[in-house]
């Protein structure tokens, strides 16, 4: 219970801190600039090197997620067959009780 609370507090405290930093930076501009000016300023400040960094980072995330999906698909396709074959030797074969894609079941998450 305490462990679960700790694992909720730490990431969300980080998210709240980021949101607070964003709020402070917006609040400092209140009444001075329009959203259009801010948008143009933000895009105008964009350097090509930064653009490549964002593309690289975003591309890496997309690549990782695609690979993860492929892994899940593969697991779903193979796990059933392996279990059936193993049951021929071990009729009382016990399972890890994960989902067919190898993920935590919703009722086990807490």
């Amino acid at each position: 219970m305490i462990g679960s609370i700790f694992h909720i507090i730490v990431p969300w405290a980080g998210a709240v801190l980021v949101a607070f930093l964003f709020y402070r930076s917006v609040a400092s501009l209140a009444g001075q600039y329009t959203f259009a000016q801010i948008g143009v300023g933000f895009l105008g400040d964009f350097r090509i090197s930064e653009g490549f960094a964002y593309v690289f980072g975003g591309g890496g995330v997309v690549y990782g997620m695609k690979h993860r999906k492929l892994h899940g698909d593969n697991l779903e396709r193979m796990a059933g067959r392996i279990a059936e074959l193993e049951k021929l030797l071990d009729a009382k074969r016990s399972s890890s009780r994960l989902t067919p894609r190898g993920k935590t079941r919703p009722e086990d998450k807490q």
């Binding site: 930076s25 300023g41 990782g64 399972s95």
Partner: protein, 202 residues
Amino acid sequence: MTPLQNFTEALHLVMGLLAVWVLVFKLCRDYRIDALRDRLFALRDNLFDYAAEGEVQFDDPAYFKLRGLINSLIRFAHRLTFTRFLMGFLFTAWKGSEAYGNVLQEWQTAVEALPAEKQKKLNEIHSAALVMVVRHLVTGSPIMVFCLVIFAISAALNGLTKKLLQSFTERLIPQLNALQIQAIVADAADRQTSRAEPVLVH
């Protein structure tokens, strides 16, 4: 720098921080859990192959209890964290290890009933599972990484100091022999002269 430039800089920073947040608390966390589960699945396959070769029966408690343990670790891999480890450690210190029942003891008893080489193999699989869990705990916690680094440095220094002392001692053996002989001669001489004196008890 104008206030607008300051703001766009801050916006870039916030976007970067958000990306890092998603990377650390979502993507990396999910990957680490999947990686641990994959390694444990491979270990469970090893155990199955060992039983399939006829080395141990599928209905032997030493087999199915160990398989059950690995299954539990796979199922609850998302709960294997430093915080829970710490809580468990404190709970065990407070209540004693009996609080967790005798599940592991039952497995250990079943293993002890097997021949020695089979005991060795099953204990190796059990140890490998624990090493995987410890590796998962250490790599997931900055505190554990720090503790491991300190432990590694102290172990390395300790080993190095011992080796240095040993090789230094080997170099000094002729001088040490003389020292030892002097001590033996002095002791023998002292015993000769003190024969008539009363015995001292320390």
